[in-house]
């Protein structure tokens, strides 16, 4: 085996990597872990090994811990990352923290999302962690690549990755006890990250374990809406609603799915909050309905 970076393409992030190391320097996937693929085609994203190192520009990233992993970034001078302020665990006094202007401030506040993000600029170390058990997922973005991410999954992104939010457009209107309520099965907003100024790195946190699937053109899958971690923008989300008991009338056994049609990649987490429908569905965004 040689150290030729072009000789090895990581099966998880598809980036070229140096096979002489212990893990992919772009996403942290270990080289010595057998690829686990379910019969249906779900690839288990291998947890990043304790103390694995990644590269992002001139900065280095090290992931430590196993239950609630810590992502520590050794920022090079003038390089930066941005993140939600409630994920800081520790930092060197030499790191400069600034507030990052956010689009849609009021909309984000109403949706329960962080109203502002923070930017940390090197040199120095800054470490981030979430507040529940799960996995850190590193998604390297190639120049020009765009990735859509569920709300509350962002751990950090390198400063050269563009960020915007847009309305998911996935809604259900229900009536219960005379009250009409609108719910957002995949969240009201989707975070969109774009590597428009060169390659970048996206670091996400997913509760539980993470599974990845590459859908072929026209291939369809339905998943629990809140299990979605990230997906290619080629996957247009819609709903699939199933009525197990013949439907009609008051029926709280209705199941709401997120429907995705390929081509594109989707990643889901094994811990999620199920979408519970209370009352009658009066209206919904684009969806298909199955009554059993």
């Amino acid at each position: 085996m040689t150290g030729d970076a072009s000789a090895y393409v990581c099966p998880y992030c598809r980036a070229s990597s140096d096979p002489t190391g212990a893990s992919c320097v772009s996403c942290g996937a270990a080289f010595d872990v057998r690829r686990v693929v379910s019969a249906a085609g779900w690839v288990k994203q291998p947890p990043i090994k304790d103390m694995a190192r990644l590269k992002a520009g001139q900065s280095r990233v090290q992931i430590s811990g196993s239950y609630v992993p810590v992502t520590e970034v050794d920022l090079a001078a003038s390089e930066s990352i941005y993140f939600a302020h409630n994920t800081i665990l520790h930092l060197d006094p030499s790191v400069t923290l600034t507030r990052m202007a956010m689009p849609g401030r009021w909309s984000r506040a109403i949706a329960g999302l962080p109203v502002f993000l923070m930017t940390a600029t090197g040199p120095g170390h800054v470490a981030l962690s979430f507040d529940h058990p799960g996995e850190t997922v590193a998604v390297p973005l190639q120049h020009g690549q765009v990735m859509n991410v569920s709300e509350h999954r962002l751990l950090a992104a390198t400063g050269n990755v563009g960020f915007q939010i847009f309305e998911s457009g996935v809604t259900i209107d229900t009536r219960y006890g005379g009250v009409r309520t609108r719910s957002y099965p995949i969240g009201r907003y989707i975070d969109q990250f774009a590597a428009s100024d060169g390659p970048g790195l996206l670091l996400l946190h997913a509760p539980g374990n993470v599974l990845v699937r590459d859908l072929q053109p026209g291939e369809t899958i339905v998943v629990q809406p809140k299990s979605m971690v990230y997906m290619d923008p080629t996957l247009q989300p819609s709903l699939h609603i199933e009525h197990p008991n013949g439907g009609g009338g008051f029926n709280n056994s209705t199941v709401v799915w997120l429907k995705l049609v390929g081509p594109g990649r989707v990643a889901i987490s094994s811990i999620y909050a199920p979408e519970i429908v209370l009352g009658l569905i009066k209206d919904a965004s684009a969806c298909t309905v199955q009554t059993w």
């Binding site: 050794d74 060197d92 006094p93 962690s129």
Partner: protein, 262 residues
């Protein structure tokens, strides 16, 4: 005879020993230290045993570990009463009021500590995913721990609490009004903490500073300074805990207690 030194608690063991008899750390695995110097607390193998005085502690489980103590005659441990998981019926327990009762009530800390005496078995766990942090205390050591993080201490340890100085430190410090203080005199003791998520320790040189999310602080040597500082981000206040060496500081990665939010 050759000896091997435990990198976590510095105890010496005969060469070939697979786990430290004083803290349970695996001696046949390399320590995990990040590039910036944070050392992961040893991952205690399921069913690992270690000793204090004439008693034995066995660690069971990994996600929410249990510390099971086989107390010898004459040995005792103290703890907050709600961390008891099970015990042999014959193990006597007694509660004693901690000093500064009214202050403790105001601070939301337990007013009574519970003591269990040997012989017999008793087991402890807290209610969050995390790790047991085993800290053998050598004679004449002082260690400060955030409220509600200690699982148990052995009878040779003196327990008190230290009021955090400065209103800003209390309001913004994330550790409440008090730190639990554990002190050993002429005798060795054993302190077991529960850290939420993963636990990391760093030894700071004299004057060395690091900023920590206040809720992530877990413990420190009493020689380590702890202050709340405001970080200017041209917007709402951001408060961090500034710790200053010399000494050890321990942090936990899941600093927001998830279980109690359900």
């Amino acid at each position: 005879m050759d000896f091997v030194s435990c990198q976590w608690c510095q105890s010496q063991s005969p060469a070939g020993t697979t786990s430290c008899p004083a803290c349970g750390a695996a001696l046949d695995q390399r320590d995990l230290v990040s590039d910036s110097g944070w050392m992961e607390a040893p991952k205690l193998r399921d069913m690992t045993e270690f000793r204090f005085s004439n008693s034995v502690c066995q660690v069971e489980g990994e996600v929410v570990p249990v510390a099971e103590i086989a107390l010898a005659q004459g040995d005792a441990v103290f703890f907050e009463h709600h961390v008891m998981l099970w015990k042999d019926p014959q193990v006597p327990i007694a509660s004693r009021a901690a000093a500064g009762g009214l202050k403790r009530v105001l601070a939301g800390m337990p007013v009574f500590l519970t003591y269990a005496s040997g012989p017999g078995r008793i087991a402890f766990s807290r209610d969050a995913t995390g790790e047991l942090v085993v800290l053998p205390l050598h004679p004449n050591m002082e260690i400060d721990v955030r409220e509600h993080a200690f699982l148990l201490g052995t009878h040779s340890i003196s327990y008190s609490f230290e009021r955090i100085k400065g209103l800003a430190n209390i309001v913004y410090g994330g550790s409440g009004m008090y730190l639990d203080r554990f002190v050993t005199q002429g005798e060795q003791g054993l302190l077991i903490l529960h850290g939420c998520g993963n636990v990391f320790q760093r030894t700071l040189a004299a004057g060395e500073k690091i900023l920590i999310e206040p809720g992530g602080f877990l413990y420190k040597d009493s020689s380590v300074g702890l202050d709340s500082v405001k970080i200017d981000i041209k917007g709402p206040d951001l408060r961090m805990a500034e710790v200053t060496g010399p000494g050890r500081v321990g942090i936990q990665s899941m600093y927001h207690h998830y279980a109690t939010e359900q």
